[in-house]
Symmetry: C2
């Protein structure tokens, strides 16, 4: 049964989550959000990866909508895409909070527990 169980919202959350699903990309987001507001790609100096690899990670974050770039030749300044970031914030917040309200009763009533399987 069911009527549209997998919604656009699930897709959107998954999209954002996937974009954050790599340590380098988490680092980039963190850097952009705290260190300085915007910056050019000299993140590369701090990371043990090739420039082209970094570029791909930036591309992923860009296409997910989490960051945006401004060209200032010969550099490119990146920053958080505030609009979409707030959207991500709301979506994650909703998911995270809803789960917080539930108290899990799973561990309270364990009939059988196979450590290696579960």
């Amino acid at each position: 049964m069911s009527t549209k169980l997998l919604t656009k919202e699930h897709d959107q959350i998954a999209r954002y989550a996937k974009a954050l699903g790599h340590p380098v990309r988490v680092y980039i987001i963190e850097l952009l959000s705290t260190q300085s507001c915007c910056f050019s790609g000299d993140i590369a100096e701090d990371l043990p990866i090739a420039r082209s690899t970094l570029s791909q990670h930036l591309k992923e974050l860009k296409s997910a909508g989490l960051i945006q770039g401004t060209i200032e030749y010969p550099k490119i300044r990146y920053c958080i895409n505030k609009e979409n970031w707030e959207r991500a914030q709301k979506l994650f917040g909703k998911l995270l909070d809803s789960a917080a309200f539930t108290k899990s009763q799973c561990t309270a009533n364990p009939v059988v527990q196979l450590a290696d399987k579960i």
Copy 2:
């Protein structure tokens, strides 16, 4: 330069985010957190995927630590792993909030803007 820029924390956030990086897994988490506290794998009835595929998604969420299962033959009851979920909550919260405090000045000072490239 740098001293440990990619930390365990980045890895951990990325790990959780990656686990949430698929619509089906977002749906599962949402279901586990709202619908009912725990349940068995009759999620399958609601999803347009094979049982074995669902099992794999459950496995991923499990190995990321976000959910846990209790066997009650012949069923298995799943629920959120509260401890780890709260950890994820904190980590995501920190990242999301820090970015919120920053106002992006990127769009405020666009020297050149190549839409197709950026």
